[in-house]
Structure formats: structure tokens, C-alpha cells
């Protein structure tokens, strides 16, 4: 027992008679980074919740630092030194970095806060992690990665030994991730144990020492990185052989339709400069760029959420003024946001309410809403998209992430003849990811689909045409062929290797 930092033995967990974990053994050592992989619903989050003490296992034992854990609650685990860093961070945005690090136990001298000592200690901790942040800045001014790092620093100041990262890569851009990895390696050198949950296979060779894969509540792989082929990982996660993989080329042949949208010399403050783009029907466009390249702003301009400072938007050859999202919707623009919980879905309403939200006009009777029409429309969407369980009355909050994403897509299919999809594959596992890509390919007929992905692989997999933005300018605008080189495109977008 002494050699492992944390060990779980024969863990079972049942949720209302459906097993989430079946006889899982898991251990983590000091100075080790262990990546935890699996589909949505494979049991990763259940395992993390058990480690963090949020839930107790139905059967099985857990040892931490050689001692058996009897009481499962988060406070206890936290005091023992287990720190879980979720995607939503628990930082106080209107306090400074140092105040956040020492929140709840500020150093006191003569009844007053000892700012001098606090600053010194905060700086020491930040430096030990290679973080270059002034302890006096306010949290609200920091970028996402800096916030993540500050919460790591907070955990260190509380003497945490085991760190669990819950999919940090899904909210960080590529550049930010590089900074993040550096700090994680520092953590490792400090002798901490690290569990790193991720969906993206590319991270594994960069960061992992050991790979653990869960599938349907069972551990299928647990081996050090050297003994594993990256290609096998994907098979282990999905449980299907590689032949099942849908190749884009099989469904790719697309006829170019008529010209639908024209952007003429669009400018937005100093963030977009002179954008000229034409979008044709039936094609899927990928607009890629790094953070700050203006790709999301371009999407918002198309939808009417932002007004361009200069330039003309033409839809079907007519000049259109888009002053608000409702103008965009009247002109047939659908906008699928990336922050599905905050901006995309009404989480406490059911599937039906969410799907009809942008298209009341279509389901209206004379005065009242026509519930027969609503049912027809909603069930048509549920069938087409394959939402599970297929019942319109289910509260969206109770659906899995992948299904929520499908509802969000379904919301726009009725009215959206110009679909703007911001990061449609965010936070999805490989299989759901593929399904969403398939859906987008399937629904491209008679529509202009504009995808604004955060990762270029997804964008290339689902699109016919690529547009690359760099500092608010179009640097590349061409068809995707088999010759398209990912590395070259990334270089054009401004990424340095």
C-alpha cells in the first residue's frame, strides 16, 4: 500500500440498478501523469467523483497515502489533499490572484490582513509552477489558461497531493495548452500525482506517462505509454474496429449550389479587416483561425449578434441589414453557439420547448400555438437527428452532453438555411463526435453550412472548403482536397511549431 499515492480496489458503483463501474482497480503514484480516457458515459466522471469524495462506491475500497478512506465526502478528500479542477472554476472574479489563492485563510497580523506576506507567498507558489502572473491582478482580467493555473496554485497552497484535471483541453486553445503542459510537468517534478481526463488523442503522447481507458464501466487498458500504440487507443475506447470509421470521402461528393451569401469588405473595429467571401449552397465551409483571429466575430456578424462597422452582407443577392439575432433568424440564419449551457439551451425546459424556441412563427395557429404541428415537427427532428431517449417531454438537463448537442443542432434545422456552427464537436467523445459530423454532412443539402471549429481536424473532416483567418484577414480561401496539408494551414493561421 505504501508505494501508491492513491489506490482503488474492486470498485463497483450502481446508479438506480444500472452499473456505472464494474470491478475497477485504479492506482496513481507520485510523480506520475495518468490520462483517463473513455466515451461519454463510460464511467470516467463516476470514477473521479469517487476519488473526490462526491459519491461513495457501492462496493470496493479506496486507499489514499496508505490509509483506507472510510468516509466519502468532498470536504474530507480536499483536506486530505485531493484536488479536482473542473472546467468551471471556483474563483472569485472580483478579487486579486493572491486573495484567491489564500481565500478563507488570509495571513493575519495584528487583526489586519498581512498583504506583504501574502504577496510573497503567492509569488513563491506561482514561480514554482512557472506561472508568470502578477499576484495583484484581478481574476476577471485573466485568460482561461491563467485562471486554470491560478486554481492549480490555490490547490498547491492548500497542500494538495493528487490533482485531477477534468478535460482542460476542451476549453483551452492550442497555444494555451502548451503553457498548461509546462506547469503540469512542474507539478509532476514536485512529486504530485496527476489524473488527466481527456477526449483528444493527440494529447496523450505529449503528456501521458500511463494510459487508463474505461469502456462501459470496465477498465480495458492500463499500461504505460511505451507499451501502447496510439492507433489502438481509439479502438479500445469505442470498442469497434477501425473499419467502422466513416470516411469523409464516401459522403463527400458535393454539387455546388447557387450563390447564397456574399460578404463584401466587412470590417469590425480593428478585429476584422476587409473580409470578402462568397458562400454557395450545399457546401460546408470551415472558417479556422487561432483565438483572436476574428472567426467567432465573423460568425456573430452573419447572425446579427454584432453589427459590422463597415461592409455589406448580401443574402440571395439582396442587401440585408442584420441588427439583431431576430433579424438573422428572419433571414434564415441559424447560429449554434459553443457555450451550450450558458447561451444555447434552456436547461430546465424540455426538448420540445427548446426546439420550437426560434420558430414560433412556423408552429403558430391563429392565436395559440398549434400543438399538433409542434409534436409533428419535434418528433421529425428527434427521428432525423437520433436524440436518445426519443421523447419530447424530457428535460434537456437530464440528457447526456452529446444529446444536448444534437438538440442544439435540431433547434436550427427548421429555419436555418445558413447555419453557423461554432465548435459543434466541443467536449464530445470520439463516437458522438463522428455522429455529429455525419449529421452536419447529411443536412448540408440546400443549406450553406459554416463551421467555426476550435480544432482543425474536425473542421477538415466535415467541410468542403476552408477559409483561414489570421489577425482579422483572410489568408487562405480554397477547396479542401486530398492534397490539403494540415500543417501548412496551421502555419498560415499563425501557429508556430
Amino acid at each position: 500500500m505504501q508505494d501508491h499515492l492513491c489506490e482503488l480496489k474492486g470498485i463497483y458503483k450502481d446508479y438506480a440498478a444500472t452499473p456505472a463501474l464494474k470491478n475497477v482497480d485504479f492506482h496513481i503514484d507520485r510523480k506520475e501523469i495518468c490520462t483517463l480516457l473513455g466515451k461519454n458515459g463510460a464511467g470516467k466522471s463516476t470514477l473521479i467523483k469517487i476519488i473526490s469524495g462526491a459519491i461513495s462506491p457501492t462496493k470496493g475500497e479506496m486507499y489514499f497515502k496508505g490509509k483506507k478512506v472510510n468516509v466519502f465526502n468532498t470536504k474530507n478528500a480536499f483536506e486530505q489533499g485531493i484536488s479536482v479542477l473542473y472546467q468551471e472554476l471556483y474563483l472569485l472574479p472580483n478579487l486579486t490572484v493572491q486573495e484567491n489563492i489564500f481565500a478563507g485563510r488570509l495571513p493575519i497580523k495584528n487583526g489586519m490582513v498581512n498583504y506583504k506576506r501574502m504577496k510573497e507567498e503567492a509569488r513563491r507558489i506561482l514561480e514554482s509552477l512557472n506561472i508568470n502572473i502578477d499576484p495583484d491582478t484581478y481574476i476577471a482580467q485573466l485568460s482561461t489558461v491563467e485562471k486554470q493555473l491560478v486554481s492549480v496554485a490555490t490547490a498547491i497552497s492548500r497542500k494538495a497531493e493528487l490533482f485531477v484535471f477534468d478535460e482542460p483541453s476542451s476549453i483551452l486553445s492550442m497555444k494555451e495548452l502548451q503553457v498548461f503542459y509546462k506547469s503540469i510537468r512542474k507539478l509532476k517534478e514536485m512529486g504530485k500525482g496527476i489524473i488527466y481526463v481527456t477526449h483528444s488523442l493527440e494529447e496523450i503522447p505529449v503528456i501521458a506517462d500511463r494510459v487508463v481507458i474505461l469502456r462501459d464501466g470496465v477498465k480495458v487498458v492500463d499500461d504505460s505509454l511505451e507499451n501502447i500504440k496510439i492507433d489502438d487507443i481509439e479502438v479500445s475506447i469505442t470498442g469497434k474496429s477501425k473499419k467502422d470509421k466513416v470516411r469523409k470521402k464516401e459522403i463527400a461528393i458535393t454539387e455546388k449550389g447557387r450563390l447564397k451569401v456574399e460578404l463584401k469588405s466587412i470590417c469590425f473595429r480593428n478585429l476584422l479587416e476587409d473580409i470578402n467571401l462568397n458562400f454557395y449552397e450545399n457546401l460546408v465551409y470551415c472558417i479556422y483561425g487561432l483565438e483572436g483571429s476574428g472567426k467567432k466575430i465573423l460568425g456573430k456578424i452573419l447572425f446579427g449578434d454584432l453589427k459590422p462597422t463597415r461592409g455589406i452582407i448580401k443574402i440571395d443577392g439582396k442587401v440585408i441589414r442584420l441588427n439583431s439575432p431576430s433579424d438573422g433568424i428572419h433571414n434564415g440564419v441559424g447560429y449554434m453557439v459553443d457555450e451550450r449551457a450558458n447561451e444555447g439551451l434552456l436547461l430546465n425546459k424540455n426538448i420540445s420547448d427548446n426546439i420550437i424556441l426560434p420558430c414560433f412563427e412556423k408552429v403558430k395557429g391563429k392565436i395559440f400555438l398549434d400543438y399538433k404541428k409542434i409534436d409533428k415537427l419535434v418528433y421529425k427532428r428527434i427521428d432525423e437527428i437520433g436524440i436518445f431517449p426519443p421523447r419530447a417531454s424530457i428535460i434537456v438537463n437530464e440528457l447526456s452532453g452529446g444529446n444536448q448537442q444534437k438538440v442544439l443542432l435540431g433547434k436550427w434545422l427548421e429555419i436555418g438555411f445558413i447555419l453557423v456552427l461554432v465548435d459543434p464537436t466541443r467536449g464530445l467523445d470520439i463516437e458522438t463526435n463522428r455522429k455529429v459530423i455525419e449529421l452536419i454532412r447529411r443536412f448540408r443539402k440546400g443549406r450553406v453550412t459554416i463551421v467555426i471549429p476550435s480544432e482543425i481536424e474536425d473542421g477538415l473532416a466535415m467541410s468542403d472548403w476552408i477559409v483561414i483567418l489570421h489577425n482579422g484577414k483572410v489568408v487562405k480561401n480554397e477547396e479542401i482536397t486530398s492534397k490539403t496539408n494540415k500543417r501548412e494551414l496551421l502555419k498560415l493561421a499563425g501557429l508556430e511549431f
Binding site: F303, D305, S324, P325, S326, G328, I329, H330, Y335, V337, N342, E343, G344, L345, L346, L347, N348, K349, D353, I356, L357, P358, F360, E361, K364, I367, F368, L369, K411
Partner: protein, 345 residues
């Protein structure tokens, strides 16, 4: 044999019926526990009241129903505002304004204190429309200001003070006695001892509860209350929806002011102090979410009944009116604790 068989069948069907009822009850309970808690307490209050002498007297019932109409109208508007995530503190003042305007318009152009029918805008339906319009105008003010992003609390706090001031300024702080025949007949009259306005109230209640569930505007109200950003990105106009609910709230408060003026046969700028707080209490007791997005007019009605009945009960026991507010506070406390215990998961 036949009889036994018949009985058995009856038994089974009765059991099935009970089971169905219990299941429906369970589902509804899970949907909104506070609603059921409030019905339970309402039932207790009613039984309690029936054994007190005086409650069932005709006069008491008449006044009780009038009060229910008055608070009910205001609370319905308040419910809609609260569903959008706002709050309307100005309803009490609007009630006072419209109550005093009813008297003021009746005697427009005559000397203050002189009681006579000398109005220049004599036809009473016109007066009624003007009064409802006054409520609507306050609603437009509130709705516009909150629709462009000023916090609802601040906006309506402003109009609450301002409109009360306007009511005092217009009437010079004086009561006006003697209203027209239409106001007297409709607002005061009754069938048996159920006042006409009670039927009007029930009609409005049915109308609004259908409106909020079955129309696009009603759905938008809920959407905006739950997440304004999602609603905006789905093409729902925040400004339009906010204006709508505040106008409804203002007009209903105006209507309540008119019925009050009719019952008292007086236009009085001092009425309705603290009414907005009673209305908010009624909404909370009914179980409408104070943060918006969940609730409904039909939930608020038991809340209204509870507040009115509890006050009446105290009055019948002879408790001083100085003490009665404490009881409402205790009731509210009990409800909030129960809501916490049975909250939706």
C-alpha cells in the same frame, strides 16, 4: 352472485381510480411541491374559518371576495413579471394613482372638496379606459427601462416612489367622494354576495393562464426568465417581452384600483401602501421561482387566498391590525422553509 361480482368490479375500478388519482397527484407534486403545500394550508385555514362565528356572514364574504379580486389582479401581473426574472414594486402606487384618478376624473374641473358631477370627460367608460391607460403608461415606462438593461428593482423602485407622488400631487392629497353610477354599479354591485368584479377576475385569470401556456408570447416570457441570453440568440426580443409583462401588470393594477375606488365610492391616494409586498408574498407562497423561468398565474391564486384569509382570520379573532403583519411574515417563513425542504431536484 351477481351482486358480489358487481361489487368486486366496482371495487377494482374504484381502486384503479384512486391509484390513478394518487399517481397524478404524485407527478404534480413533484412538479411543484409548494403549490400543494399551499393548498394544504389553504384547506386548513378554510376549515378553521368555518367554525369561527362571523366568517360565514354575508357581509364578510362580500368584502373578502373584493379583497381577493384586488390582491389577485395585482398578483397575477406580478407573477408574469417575476417569471421573466423581474419584480414590479410599483403596483401599489399604480393602484393608488388609478384609485384617486377615478375620483379625480369624475370631478374634473370642479373645485376640490366640492361634491358634484361636473366632469368634462363625463362618459364613464372613457374614464375607465383612461385609468387603465394610466396603468399601461406606467407599465411602458417600467418595461422600456428594464428592457434596455436597467435592473428591474431599481426601475420599479423609482416608479413606485414617483407614481405615489404623482397621485398625491394630482389630488392634492385629498379624497374625492361620490363616483359615477357605472363605477358604483359595476364595482360595487353583486349577485347574491358575489360581487360582479369577482366574475371579471375569474375570466381574466382563465385568460392569462391560457395566454402564458399556449401562446408564443407566453413561451417567450418563460424563456427570458430562464436564460435571457439563450432567448435573445433564439430571436426573442427582450425589450418587447419585458414591455408586455409590465404593461399587463400596470393595467391589472389599474383595474384593481378602479374596483377599490368603486367599492369605497371614493378616490383616495393613500390606498395600497405595501400592496406590492403582499403580492410578492402571494407569488412566493404559490411557488413561482423568484429568479424567473418557472411558475404560473394559477399557482399564485392559493397564495392570494391564504394571505387574505389569514388577515381576515386575525381580524375576526379581534387581533389588532398592528400585529397582523407579523403573521404574514411567519406564514412566508414557513413556506420558504417548506419549499426548501421539498424543492425540485
Amino acid at each position: 352472485m351477481r351482486i358480489i361480482f358487481f361489487k368486486k368490479e366496482l371495487c377494482i375500478s374504484f381502486k384503479g381510480f384512486l391509484g390513478k388519482l394518487a399517481r397524478n397527484f404524485k407527478i404534480s407534486f413533484r412538479k411543484n411541491p409548494p403549490f400543494f403545500i399551499s393548498y394544504f394550508i389553504l384547506g386548513t385555514l378554510l376549515i378553521w374559518m368555518c367554525i369561527i362565528p362571523g366568517f360565514l356572514s354575508l357581509e364578510n364574504l362580500y368584502i373578502l371576495l373584493h379583497r381577493i379580486v384586488q390582491l389577485g389582479l395585482v398578483s397575477m401581473g406580478m407573477t408574469l413579471v417575476i417569471i421573466t426574472g423581474g419584480i414590479d414594486l410599483s403596483v401599489g402606487s399604480v393602484l393608488a394613482l388609478t384609485c384617486s384618478l377615478t375620483g379625480y376624473f369624475q370631478h374634473w374641473g370642479t373645485w376640490y372638496g366640492y361634491i358634484g358631477q361636473g366632469s368634462f370627460i363625463a362618459p364613464e367608460p372613457v374614464i375607465l379606459l383612461m385609468i387603465l391607460g394610466a396603468g399601461g403608461i406606467v407599465g411602458i415606462l417600467n418595461g422600456f427601462a428594464s428592457g434596455i438593461g436597467i435592473p428591474d428593482f431599481a426601475v420599479t423602485l423609482g416608479t413606485m416612489i414617483g407614481i405615489r407622488g404623482a397621485a398625491y400631487a394630482i389630488t392634492g392629497g385629498m379624497k374625492t367622494f361620490g363616483l359615477g353610477p357605472m363605477t358604483n354599479n359595476i364595482a360595487k354591485g353583486s349577485i347574491g354576495n358575489v360581487p360582479y368584479v369577482f366574475f371579471m377576475f375569474v375570466a381574466i385569470l382563465i385568460f392569462i393562464s391560457v395566454f402564458e401556456r399556449k401562446t408564443a408570447m407566453g413561451k417567450s416570457i418563460y424563456a427570458i426568465g430562464e436564460n435571457p441570453r439563450v432567448a435573445k440568440l433564439s430571436g426573442i426580443s427582450y425589450l418587447k417581452t419585458k414591455m408586455m409583462v409590465y404593461i399587463i401588470s400596470g393595467v391589472l393594477a389599474g383595474m384593481a384600483g378602479w374596483t377599490l375606488a368603486g367599492r369605497l365610492d371614493t378616490g383616495d391616494p393613500k390606498v395600497g401602501v405595501g400592496l406590492e409586498l403582499d403580492a410578492i408574498a402571494a407569488v412566493i407562497i404559490g411557488g413561482t421561482n423568484l429568479y424567473g423561468g418557472f411558475g404560473g398565474v394559477e399557482y399564485t391564486i392559493p397564495g392570494v387566498l391564504i394571505i387574505i384569509l389569514a388577515r381576515n382570520l386575525m381580524a375576526l379573532y379581534g387581533v389588532s391590525s398592528n400585529v397582523r403583519s407579523i403573521e404574514i411574515a411567519l406564514l412566508l417563513l414557513v413556506f420558504l422553509v417548506l419549499q426548501r425542504l421539498f424543492r425540485r431536484k
